[in-house]
């Protein structure tokens, strides 16, 4: 399994798409230097929001571009048959691919995260410790999306897999707010239906620490720990389901 993880990681890290996406990510983090003066005194806030948004957005792009192809290439080029003849189960193969992709996301997000934290620390003149937590929150959000993309890759082609992942991401972001809105307008039936979807789609708001980064509003430790454990459990369940589907797949 170690071999699968390393292979998957090496393959992803060598992909030229990754470099292009990283370059755009860095450019977007620094874009606040140009847009900043137009914000009427909100340069720091803009730098923080754009930087954090860039890590999430470009992480999502990497997942869509690379994550979906990780499994497809192995199946298409039939290289997985060679791997599966070794003493490795199909589930271990899927888990290895997921961990390899997760490592790629971790490395790229950390690169962008370190650039982002250094940049806003320079802008503010002090080390922005809150930004560390915000970046870790984004990495955990991306971890959940890694689980989703691996699941999609087991039964969809890369194009449909990307659509599926985008769809899950959008709904995952919208559903918690939509439930509150439905409750506010006393549409309890709609709220109940949305709550069912809430149990299926990943709720990325648990790992949104923007309030701490922008407004320095403290976030309870329980919420942070809950967010991290939720992301780990959700990703594990997704990889487990992906493994089960792959076990039954007719190769």
């Amino acid at each position: 399994m170690r071999e699968v993880i390393l292979n998957s990681y090496r393959e992803a890290i060598r992909d030229r798409v990754l470099l292009v996406v990283l370059a755009f990510g860095v450019a977007m983090i620094f874009s606040s230097l140009i847009i900043g003066p137009l914000t009427l005194g909100e340069e720091i806030r803009l730098a923080k929001d754009i930087g954090l948004g860039s890590i999430l957005f470009f992480g999502l792009l990497i997942i869509l571009f690379i994550g979906n192809r990780v499994l497809y290439r192995e199946l298409n080029e039939k290289t997985c048959y060679l791997i599966l003849t070794r003493p490795i189960t199909r589930f271990q193969f899927i888990a290895g691919k997921a961990i390899g992709l997760f490592l790629t996301i971790l490395v790229t997000s950390l690169i962008l995260g370190i650039i982002f934290i250094s940049y806003i620390s320079l802008l503010t003149g002090s080390l922005q410790i809150t930004a560390f937590l915000a970046v870790i929150g984004v990495i955990f959000q991306l971890t959940m999306l890694v689980g989703i993309v691996i699941l999609a890759a087991t039964f969809l082609n890369p194009f449909l897999g990307s659509l599926f992942t985008i769809f899950v991401y959008i709904f995952g972001q919208m559903i918690p707010r939509a439930i509150l809105l439905a409750k506010f307008y006393k549409h309890l039936a709609i709220a109940r239906i949305l709550s069912i979807f809430h149990y299926i789609f990943p709720d990325l708001t648990y790992l949104d620490f923007r309030e701490l980064l922008i407004y320095n509003n403290p976030i309870p430790l329980e919420r942070i720990l809950f967010g991290f454990s939720y992301a780990i459990c959700y990703s594990l369940v997704m990889v487990l389901v992906a493994g089960l589907i792959f076990e039954r797949k007719d190769l």
Binding site: L38, L40, G41, D49, Y169, M174, R177
Partner: protein, 316 residues
């Protein structure tokens, strides 16, 4: 790329309104629809709000979507104090909709419970625009109970309750806004309002001296200098760079800046009439006068304000 550059350079700029904001979703639904954009969504709306404000200010527009854009912004980021501050000032002042500013701020009162900014600016709108001192005092007092409220908020609460002269309190509020903001547009608005208030203060001072002069001497002065030093100490400097002049037809002192405004307004109303005769309707916005070649440019407002253009007429 060179061909594209040359081609695009040859395209003339298109005269346009800020209508894209009309497609901005409104109400609570916006919180749901902008969620997938993550932390970037408030920044996009903030930039759109600033751009819209700038465009309307330059083109003499009606600020139709000002309330909507700040409503959306404070819904997706209810803790954004600067949006409440800047939004309420421009909606009440240039958008001339103090009630709408209060509506947005009242939501901030609930959604941003630890900040003193929303109650302070509700008090500000009641004090300066609606002149309801009792309500202004109530909200200033509420702001004092929230953490971080500066000392001048306590003073303003006392001012409002004692119904201290509007002008004195207004100068205090604007000067504090001027001192405490990094927002250049807000600084300019505060400075403009302080100058206007000082100008009114000076006119009141001069006209009181004039009334005393006429009462005691039984005649009108021939020149302002006749009032010095018995009735006024000196001739104050006009804050907008104009001068104070005695107008015998009105029997009062007036500012040449005010006279200039009257002249410009008369000129614009005349051109609006020309526009109506030429095209059969009044323009939607003042900058249509320029776009359709009726005038070359809109003369800048001597006080740096926006012309109040409503229903085919510019009014003071």
């Amino acid at each position: 790329m060179l061909a594209t550059f040359l081609f695009q350079r040859s395209i003339p700029p298109i005269y346009h309104h800020s209508e894209p904001l009309a497609f901005l979703p409104s109400g609570p639904m916006v919180e749901v629809t902008t969620a997938p954009l993550g932390p970037i969504s408030p920044e996009i709306i903030w930039l759109a709000a600033i751009q819209y404000y700038g465009e309307e200010k330059i083109s003499g527009g009606k600020f139709e979507f000002l309330t909507q854009v700040f409503d959306v912004l404070t819904r997706i980021d209810p803790l954004f104090d600067h949006a409440y501050q800047f939004g309420s000032i421009v909606i009440a002042d240039e958008g001339r909709s103090p009630e709408q500013a209060i509506r947005i701020l009242k939501r901030g009162l609930v959604k941003n419970p630890s900040s003193w900014i929303p109650p302070f600016y509700i008090g500000f709108v009641f004090y300066i625009h609606l002149r309801d001192f009792a309500k202004a005092g109530k909200y200033f007092e509420l702001a004092t109970r929230r953490s971080g409220a500066p000392e001048y908020v306590y003073r303003l609460a006392a001012f409002a309750y004692k119904k201290v002269r509007l002008r004195k309190g207004s100068i205090l509020i604007w000067s504090k806004i001027y001192q405490n903001t990094d927002n250049q547009t807000l600084k300019e608005a505060a400075l403009r309002n302080i100058r206007c208030l000082i100008l009114e203060e000076y006119l009141e001072y001069l006209n009181k001296g004039l009334q005393r002069f006429e009462r005691e001497k039984g005649r009108k002065p021939e020149h302002i200098s006749e009032l010095i030093p018995e009735y006024i100490d000196s001739i104050p400097t006009e804050p907008f760079g104009g001068a104070f002049k005695y107008d015998s037809s009105r029997d009062s002192f007036i500012s040449t800046t005010y006279l200039q405004i009257e002249k410009i307004i008369a000129y614009l109303n005349n051109k609006l009439h020309v526009f109506k005769q030429k095209f059969g309707y009044y323009p939607e916005r003042l900058d249509e006068l320029v776009a359709k070649g009726v005038i070359d440019f809109i003369p800048p407002h001597p006080l740096g304000r926006i012309y109040n253009y409503r229903f085919g007429r510019v009014i003071r």
